[in-house]
Symmetry: D2
Subunit: 338 residues, 4 copies
């Protein structure tokens, strides 16, 4: 950690800080310059908070050299983590996984019907929302526990693992029992109590990026889950909020190589939420595969115009099957299987 | 609601949609043009979801005319709502309220000491965090329930109402008992389960804006709380995330006149989080008063460089007292008391 | 164009507006509702400005149905435009083009040397900056006209067309004589006088997206060039500015399918500026190809650490050759040649 | 400047860089740590480019300690610069200036009529656009030189200095002759050739912030003008582009104290463009005064609904007069005159 002091910092303050950092167990190096003084802190600085140090009026700037995360950090865990979801490996050089299904579970018949269709298309897992984060309290809020049981039925029929979003720590037991991959939605990426709660689960976690989360914030949220005891975290990019209005969000594919350099965890991409427009899903899905994604999660509905939510960004099964065919070719071109 | 259909939408689809909207209980008007057809829907459209209608491939665009919120909507509630916080009225033309205190409760002695100081400076309420949303799992996470009890002691000593952030629905009882104003933090603005939970409380709610929340998203979150039964919501702007790096966030003061035009609820401003830099707090606080804010919430610490969190954006009590004096003059200049 | 009037707009004002729009030569349809009145304008509305109509206090909202651009609009020009750059076709289903070269021309020897290297790697054109837009007046500003002549020499040696950025209308003649593809940089995307000037050139134009330009703004800038008489415009995405700090910009690949749906012009991608980090260039380049890009423009330098500008985002020739090999496989996977 | 090297940088590379920096005339200090090595460069580093240094693969990070600007830097010019505009002082503790007038000059009669009205309201200068940067080539582009002559007539009638936007370096002579304050618009903030050109003028320059310009970018653009010889630069904030849709832009008032701390130049605020909505202008204008602005520039039109541009964000003269009255009270409250 590099701490720049203001030019005119009094010597006693420089000395006081020097002692203070040494007491925190890090080695301290001081550069004295004409225009500034700089402390270089060497050692474990993850427990020091940049902003707290900046509170000192003589401090001009603080810069981390080592990352503030440890468990997620590839530096301390060089091999890829491969997360098993209901027996299916995700990450490393494993086969790219495809997750398909409706935005919302609308009933047992619907999720089983669409589940069978996505299975027939070649998907590896089924997604479906039972608890729905909706902007409006007047919109459909999901079928709740019934919806999870409906999904479990779809799993039974198809043999595919199921993915669903958890919105509240008091549902941990429901999800632990029924679901294979527990999703944390974008709006809850920094719901730290929920992160800690899923950190106590045995099921793997799909951690979506918050709408305005930096990559570092996002890794820190993974670190929360891991620090609570659950090492099986999969990142999921779903677009960030920008000024652009033709798309719902702006999909940031640079996260794939960046997360893979800095962490050892798998990364999958959600082109449905990232674009909000079914016509854009296929090109963005292919782009994600080309950039090195470990998987895709895509909204599929057989009657999008009658879906209870997010129909505008849902693919029909035949388009989904087509996408998988094309994605397979791109995967092969970049040396991966799908 | 105005729905634009694509130029080449087949007549049977136009007819089908016409019937569908009528079945949903709204009146339907159709304009047929050379380049497009337009449906104008008249009546209560709050239960229709724009994105669901867009799922139809023949729909080009959907635009709301009436707002998607009702309870928060000034159109249906023309008078200002005045929220009582422990007996202190907030909003309308009432006296502007000043809330001061440390970012975190660090112990009973600390919160009582700073509480007395902010009271002496002329503050109306005391803030302090007992449960802390921290980006890093390795940072101080707050004293929890002990911290709330410490705050209650500060209230006893000073007679001032207390404000603290709730992070999880399972703490509703603790907060209902101890706190006068329950804060929903920026990261939980769309934690819908938590919004519903505080909607069942009898205590008023301070709803911070999410880092990338549009004003409409924010009003919809207030609507969640109100729809669950709690009409006492106060908005709190704390800055949005932009590309600018010299400030922690970008404070958006236009929210004040906009929220006051569209809703009937009070608006207060948090210049501490909005800027992240104690030197910027005073000018931004004065600006907020000039723009019509109903209150300010400001971080105050007597030893910022030793604060357990957010020292960099905390004012010392003497600066806080100075700020209140200046704010009083600005308030008077715009016809308000403080 | 759909114009929503406020609920309480007086009848005489509604009538006055009705006449006014008719006088502007568009057909006017009026829907009268309980909560609002709506005008639907049918006909050529490109000459009406939404914001000017909004100036009327009785107008609640204005929404375009038809796009504000005509010459760039695929609706009026369904076939792909194929732009010839020094004889090389760009766009349509033509071979994907690869443009490589240094950020700045540093001298005749350097540009010819690197030019030969990128040619050997299989590039189709050479890029190089002679006039450099630099944030600081103290940074190297480019070799100017000498630099253009140096590039012309590189063309002579390699036979490849050359691309360079123009920063000022008074250099039109220099560029017309020497350069094959005239680049408008991100910072000048809305330098309308410059757009008009290049609109009078016979050479094609590479139009970079502004750092905070919406896709619609960007198409309107192409429309400026086309309206001035130059139909040969190629779009170039180079990333937009967001809150993310790990990358220089956020590359927005959704522009590819969107621009191809709404316009008939080619789209190429600049992963060097979009990421600012050489390690991210390859995965982002492959993603761009998978998403349907018509070309790539990439910074290449044989000694990046000694480059006079932008070394951090330059590839060494061997990495560039490798990237082209991989891009060729991805292109094939999506049915294109490279 | 602080340069962090990667952990495993080879010693010969560390030595090579050490020599390289010394050759550039700065003193070099090296900290060697377990996890990293750090160079601290002391001396004049304004001619070093962070990104060029980052090009070295062994460099992890580069951080400036001293700002990259010199002429605009308050450190080297502690007293406030007071810019004289046609005899009226702007900045320091001088009277706050109010600039009013239409978005576009629509003819001699119009600008003289509105000019007299804004003068009667108490404005200090008249604004009006003769060359108009419009998003669409089909929108009104301004009256050009005729418009400037019309403005000069308005100055003659009212005695007030005039402000107008320059869009192209080839109009320097026209502006030098006719205008008192030369405006650089947001879209041209990084049109470096234009910045250099106005740097050669004797007239002061009003430099608007680009829509996605950081404060540092903006100061660097001022530095361009100053480095070319013109020390009389006034900053003008007009809002930045964010995801918020209820306003045209997001007004960032924190720029006022930040620019005043880091530079010695005056700062004025444009609430018309920052909000795009006439109803928001007054509260935002008062906020700007409270935050310490040296002036306001406001669009005024007597018939906004018939204005040729930007009517939606124009105030009628009576509202403008009212705003000035209120602004005077706020100015007094913060110890300034208006």
């Amino acid at each position: 950690m590099i701490i720049t002091l203001k030019k005119n910092a009094p010597q006693e303050e420089v000395d006081r800080l020097h002692r203070l950092f040494e007491e925190r167990g890090v080695q301290v190096h001081l550069i004295q310059g004409v225009d500034f003084n700089v402390f270089g802190l060497v050692g474990d600085t993850a427990h020091l908070d940049e902003r707290d140090i900046k509170a000192n009026v003589w401090v001009e700037n603080v810069q981390r050299v080592s990352a503030p995360y440890k468990l997620a950090n590839r530096m301390f865990h060089p091999e890829d983590t491969i997360v098993s979801v209901g027996g299916i490996p995700v990450g490393g050089n494993e086969k790219i996984v495809i997750i398909g299904g409706p935005c919302s579970v609308e009933g047992r018949e619907q999720i089983c019907r669409i589940g069978r269709e996505v299975a027939d298309c070649g998907a590896d897992m089924i997604r479906g929302g039972a608890y729905k984060p909706r902007t409006s309290p007047y919109s459909f809020q999901g079928l709740g526990y019934e919806g999870l049981l409906d999904m479990a039925e779809a799993r039974k029929e198809t043999g595919l693992p199921i993915v669903s979003e958890i919105m509240s720590a008091d549902k941990i037991d429901e999800f632990e029992e029924t679901v294979d991959l527990v999703q944390i939605g974008a709006r809850n990426m920094q719901n730290f109590d929920l992160l800690k709660a899923v950190g106590h689960m045995t099921k793997p976690v799909l951690l979506k990026r918050g709408m305005s989360a930096t990559i570092e914030d996002w890794i820190m949220s993974a670190e929360y889950i891991m620090a609570a005891g659950n090492p099986n975290v999969i990142f999921c990019e779903r677009g960030i909020r920008t000024f652009e209005k033709y798309t719902r969000n702006t999909m940031d594919l640079a996260v794939i190589p960046i997360l893979k350099e800095r962490t050892h965890l798998p990364v999958i991409i959600d082109p449905s939420h990232a674009t909000g427009d079914w016509k854009l899903i296929e090109p963005m899905a292919l782009a994600a595969i080309a950039a090195g994604a470990d998987g895709l999660i895509i909204e599929v509905h057989d009657m999008p115009e009658q879906a209870w939510s997010d129909g505008a960004q849902s693919l029909k099964p035949e388009k989904f099957a087509q996408l998988i065919e094309k994605a397979r070719l791109v995967a092969k071109a970049v040396g991966r299987d799908l």
